[in-house]
C-alpha cells in the first residue's frame, strides 16, 4: 500500500509539473493521461531506442522511448574526455583527417542500417557536416567503429542516408567548392569554377566503408536525400538549393528562383558506367579510420584515389525535377512510389510520383537542361500538391498506413496528411520551431507508427532558465490514434537534427557485455598480474598495468626521469558486465582512461616536474574503490634512481633501538 501511494504521488507530481510549467497559451496541448503514456516504471525497459544527432556537439545520443531517458552519448566526431575518446593513444587515429587530428565536428543526421528496406539493428551512421566524413557506429558496442573522409567535398549535409540493403551510404556537398588543381580561384567565379559532388560509399558485409564512386555535378547546394525503395530501389533523391549559384548573401541571392531541384540519381546506371570503365580516377587525399575490436585500437590510413563519373557526359544517371522554394527535406514514402520535397519558403508540399517520373524520362518530357543535366517538367513528375498545409515545410516521415507527417518550422507544427488524396488530417503545435522529426522506422518500408518525435530548435519558456543558453528539446506525440497527442518533452544534448528509432529488441539482444580477455590482441596487454611490468625503451617508458577491484598492478613505480614519456597501458582484468575501471594521473594534460572489462587502453603522460605523482581509479568500482590508487616517482634528468615497480611491497619494519640509560 505504501508503495502504491508512493507511485501515485510520483505520478501526481509528474502530472502537476506538466500543468505548472507549461506556458498558458499551450494549456490545451497536454491531456491528463499523457504522464501514463510516457511513464516507464523504474527498472522497466523502454520500447524503442532513439538515436539522436548531437548537432554541434559532434556526438550521437541514445534515448529511450517513450520515457525520454538518456542512456548514452556516443562519441563520434568530437573528443570525449569522460570516455578517453580522442585522448587515449588507441582512439586518437579515429579523429585523424587529411587535415590532421580534428577534435570536433557537427553531426546532423543518423541513419540505421537496413535489410530489405527494414531496420536491421546492425549499425547506425552519422555525418560530419564541417570536415566531410561519414561514421559507422556498431550497435553491439555502441561505439564508433569506422570513419571515412570525403574528398572533393565541403559541408557533407545530404548524408548518411542509405539504400534499402545498405549497399551504399551517400554523402554530398552542401557547399560547392572549386576542386582538384583548380582550387585557388576568385570566390565570385562560383558559376564557372565551383562544383558539387555526390559520393556513393559502399558498405561491406562487416560494415566496412569504401568510396565506390563520386558524381561530379553543377555547383549548387545539395541539402538532403533519401533512397528509393521497392519499385524505386536503384534510385536516390537529393534536394538542392542555390541553383542561382550565388556566392554571397545566400539568404537573399539563393532565394530568387521560384523553383530549385530534386535531383534523381539512377545509381544502378552509374554502377554500369563504372563497370564499363567510364569513371575517371582522380588523385585526392582522404583518410579511412577503423576501430579493431581485437586490438582495442584504431588505425588511420591515407587513401589517394577516387573514381569520378560525369553525369553531364554519361547520360541517364541524373535528372533534375523542379521543386518550389529552396527544398530541404527529400523523403520517400514506404511504398517507394512517392517523393516528398519540402521547400523551406513554400506554403505547399509537392509530392512527386516515381511512376510518372519514369514515364516523363521515357517521353523526354523535359523543359531543358541545367549544365548538361535534363530538367523534367514539373507537372510531368508531380503526383500533386498538399495545399495550405502550413508555413515552411522541412521534413517528412511516414506511418506506413498511407499517411505522412511533415514538420513546419515557420508555423511551428507537425501536420499529418494523406499521401494519396493530399488532404490534411491533423495538426499539432510544437514548442518551438521544429526541425526534424522521427517515427520509428519512419523512412523505411516498415514503420512502427506508435510515436512521432519532434526535434525543436528553440525551447524559450519550456524549461527552467539556465542563463542565455537554453536546452534544445524533443517532444513525443502518441500517434496510435487518429490525432497526435503530446505526451512528453525532454531536453537533448547539442542541437538535435535528424534522429531515428528502432524497436528495442532488435538491438538490445546483441549488446556486448564484456570483451573477452583471452581474445585481447592489444600489443601492450597484460593478461594477468604475472605479465605486468615496466619497460624502458630510450626515453619511452611502457607500463604494462592491470586493474581489478580494487588495485592496480604495479602501483609503485620509480625511476622515471624528466624528459621521459610514460605510456600507461592499462588492462582491465574484470570479466563482468558494467565494471569499467578508470585511470588518471596527476598533471596529465589530456584526459582519463575509461577501460571496459577485458580491454587495454593507453594514456600518454609527459611529466614536467620532479615529484611523486598519485594515480587512481576514477570509476567507483567497489567498497575499496577509494583505496584503488598508486604512486609514480619522477626524478630529475640524469638521476640514477633505478627503474623499479612493485605491488604490495611494504618497507621492512624498523627495528626499535634498545633503550639507553
Amino acid at each position: 500500500m505504501t508503495k502504491k501511494t508512493f507511485i501515485g504521488l510520483a505520478v501526481l507530481a509528474i502530472a502537476l509539473s506538466y500543468t505548472a510549467c507549461k506556458p498558458k497559451d499551450a494549456s490545451t496541448a497536454v491531456s491528463g493521461d499523457a504522464a501514463v503514456k510516457a511513464y516507464v516504471p523504474p527498472g522497466k525497459y523502454d520500447e524503442f531506442y532513439n538515436f539522436v544527432s548531437g548537432g554541434f556537439s559532434g556526438q550521437m545520443s541514445v534515448y529511450g522511448l517513450p520515457s525520454g531517458r538518456l542512456f548514452r552519448v556516443i562519441p563520434v566526431f568530437s573528443v570525449d574526455p569522460e570516455k578517453g575518446y580522442g585522448y587515449s593513444e588507441e582512439s586518437k587515429p579515429m579523429l585523424n583527417t587529411s587535415n590532421g587530428f580534428i577534435p570536433w565536428d557537427d553531426l546532423h543526421h543518423t541513419e540505421l542500417s537496413q535489410t530489405n528496406g527494414e531496420i536491421d539493428g546492425r549499425w547506425v551512421f552519422g555525418n560530419a557536416n564541417n570536415t566531410p566524413r561519414v561514421a559507422r557506429i556498431d550497435l553491439k558496442t555502441f561505439r564508433t567503429a569506422e570513419i571515412i573522409e570525403l574528398p572533393n567535398s565541403a559541408g557533407n549535409h545530404s548524408s548518411p542516408f542509405i539504400t534499402e540493403n545498405t549497399e551504399y551510404v551517400v554523402a554530398g556537398t552542401r557547399f560547392s567548392v572549386p576542386m582538384g588543381d583548380n582550387s585557388d580561384v576568385a570566390i565570385d567565379t562560383y558559376k564557372k569554377n565551383f562544383k558539387g559532388t555526390v559520393s556513393f560509399i559502399s558498405v561491406g558485409k562487416a560494415g566496412e566503408m569504401d568510396i565506390a564512386f563520386q558524381l561530379m555535378l553543377p555547383g549548387v547546394n545539395f541539402d538532403l536525400s533519401h533512397a528509393g525503395k521497392g519499385p524505386s530501389h536503384g534510385w536516390f533523391f537529393f534536394s538542392c538549393y542555390n541553383t542561382e549559384q550565388a556566392n554571397t548573401l545566400l539568404e537573399v541571392n539563393a532565394s530568387q528562383r521560384d523553383k530549385d531541384f530534386i535531383m534523381a540519381v539512377n545509381w544502378k546506371k552509374a554502377e554500369e558506367y563504372l563497370k564499363a570503365g567510364k569513371g575517371v580516377k582522380k588523385q585526392v587525399k582522404y583518410v579511412h579510420n577503423i576501430w579493431d575490436e581485437a586490438t582495442h585500437s584504431a588505425k588511420s590510413e591515407l587513401r589517394t584515389e577516387v573514381t569520378v563519373l560525369d553525369p553531364a557526359v554519361l547520360k541517364d544517371i541524373c535528372y533534375f525535377i523542379p521543386c518550389p522554394k529552396s527544398p530541404h527535406g527529400c523523403d520517400v514514402d514506404p511504398t517507394g512510389e512517392y517523393i516528398v520535397g519540402s521547400g523551406k519558403l513554400a506554403a505547399l508540399i509537392p509530392v512527386f510520383s516515381f511512376t510518372k517520373m519514369q514515364k516523363a524520362i521515357a517521353d523526354k518530357a523535359f523543359e531543358g537542361d541545367f549544365e548538361g543535366i535534363p530538367v523534367i517538367k514539373y507537372e510531368a513528375a508531380l503526383h500533386g500538391e498538399v495545399q495550405k498545409p502550413g508555413l515552411g515545410p522541412l521534413h517528412t516521415e511516414f506511418d506506413g498506413k498511407g499517411n505522412a507527417y511533415t514538420t513546419f518550422f515557420v508555423s511551428s507544427e507537425i501536420v499529418k496528411w494523406n499521401i494519396k488524396d493530399l488532404k490534411v488530417l491533423d495538426r499539432a503545435p510544437t514548442f518551438y520551431s521544429v526541425g526534424h522529426l522521427c517515427i520509428p522506422g519512419g523512412d523505411s518500408k516498415k514503420p512502427s507508427p506508435k510515436y512521432v518525435i519532434a526535434y525543436n530548435k528553440i525551447t524559450k519558456d519550456r524549461y527552467l532558465p539556465t542563463g542565455p543558453e537554453l536546452a534544445q528539446s524533443a517532444q513525443i506525440y502518441d500517434i496510435s490514434g487518429d490525432k497526435m497527442q503530446l505526451i512528453l518533452d525532454f531536453p537533448t544534448i547539442g542541437e538535435p537534427h535528424y534522429a531515428q528509432a528502432a524497436p528495442a529488441e532488435l538491438i538490445s539482444k546483441n549488446s556486448t557485455k564484456i570483451y573477452k580477455i583471452e581474445e585481447n590482441k592489444n600489443p601492450f596487454v597484460a593478461k594477468g598480474e604475472k605479465e605486468t611490468k615496466v619497460v624502458r625503451e630510450g626515453n619511452k617508458i611502457h607500463v604494462y598495468m592491470t586493474s581489478i577491484r580494487s588495485h592496480f598492478s604495479p602501483d609503485n613505480i620509480e625511476g622515471v626521469k624528466l624528459g621521459d614519456e610514460v605510456y600507461f597501458h592499462v588492462t582491465n582484468l574484470e570479466q563482468d558486465w558494467d565494471v569499467p575501471h578508470g585511470f588518471a594521473v596527476k598533471g596529465a594534460n589530456n584526459a582519463e582512461l575509461l577501460i571496459m572489462p577485458g580491454e587495454t587502453q593507453t594514456l600518454k603522460w609527459v611529466p614536467e616536474k620532479v615529484g611523486v605523482y598519485p594515480m587512481y581509479c576514477t570509476d567507483f568500482c567497489s567498497a575499496l574503490h577509494q583505496e584503488m590508487q598508486g604512486y609514480i616517482r619522477v626524478s630529475p634528468a640524469g638521476s640514477n634512481v633505478p627503474l623499479t615497480f612493485s605491488l604490495g611491497k611494504l618497507p621492512a619494519p624498523e627495528v626499535a633501538a634498545p633503550p639507553t640509560k
Binding site: A15, D33, G528, E529, H551
Partner: protein, 161 residues
C-alpha cells in the same frame, strides 16, 4: 474535468503497476530466505557439505590429479584469479586458496565461480566470506570447463598428486 482525468490516469497506473506479476515475483525474490543449499545426496539423505547454488550438482573427482586439467586451470588462474587470490593461506583481496578443497565441495567452488551473483545473494557460506573480505567477488566469466580446471589446479595446490 482535468483533475478527474489526472486521477483516472494515476488510478490506471497504480492498478497497472501494482498488479504486475513480475514485480510480485521480484519482490518475493528479495525477501525470501536464502535457498536451501544442502544438496540431497544420492541416497536421498541430506549431505552436510554444501554444494552451493548453480548448475553443478555432482562433480566427479578422481583420487589422483589430472595434470592436464590442473595446468589449464593454472592458466585461467594467472589471468583471472591471481590478482585477488594467493596460493598460500594469506588473504589478499579474497581468501588464500591453500586448503580450499578441504573446506569446500567441488560443486560449491565451481558454482561460486560461475554463478557468483546468485551465490552472493543467497548462499550463507558465500555471504559469510563476503562479510570478511567486503569486496564482492567479480564474475570472471569462466566457462564450465574453466571452472573445473581451476578446481583441479586448487587440488594440485593442496597437494593432490
Amino acid at each position: 474535468m482535468k483533475k478527474i482525468l489526472i486521477i483516472t490516469g494515476i488510478a490506471a497506473l497504480i492498478f497497472g503497476c501494482g498488479s504486475s506479476d513480475s514485480e510480485k515475483k521480484d519482490a518475493s525474490a528479495t525477501n525470501e530466505p536464502a535457498a536451501e543449499t544442502k544438496a540431497p545426496a544420492a541416497d536421498g539423505t541430506t549431505s552436510d557439505v554444501s554444494r552451493g547454488i548453480g548448475k553443478f550438482t555432482k562433480v566427479e573427482v578422481s583420487p589422483t590429479l589430472d595434470v592436464q586439467m590442473a595446468d589449464a586451470g593454472q592458466k585461467v588462474f594467472d589471468v583471472k584469479c591471481s590478482a585477488c587470490h594467493k596460493l598460500t593461506e594469506e588473504k589478499l583481496v579474497g581468501p588464500g586458496w591453500k586448503g580450499v578443497t578441504t573446506r569446500r565441495a567441488p560443486e560449491w567452488v565451481m558454482n561460486f565461480a560461475t554463478n557468483t551473483e546468485e551465490m552472493l545473494a543467497k548462499d550463507p557460506a558465500a555471504q559469510a566470506q563476503l562479510e570478511i573480505c567486503l569486496v564482492r567477488m567479480p564474475n570472471q566469466s569462466l566457462t564450465d570447463d574453466d571452472a573445473r580446471h581451476v578446481y583441479e589446479f586448487m587440488r594440485k595446490n593442496d597437494g593432490v598428486k
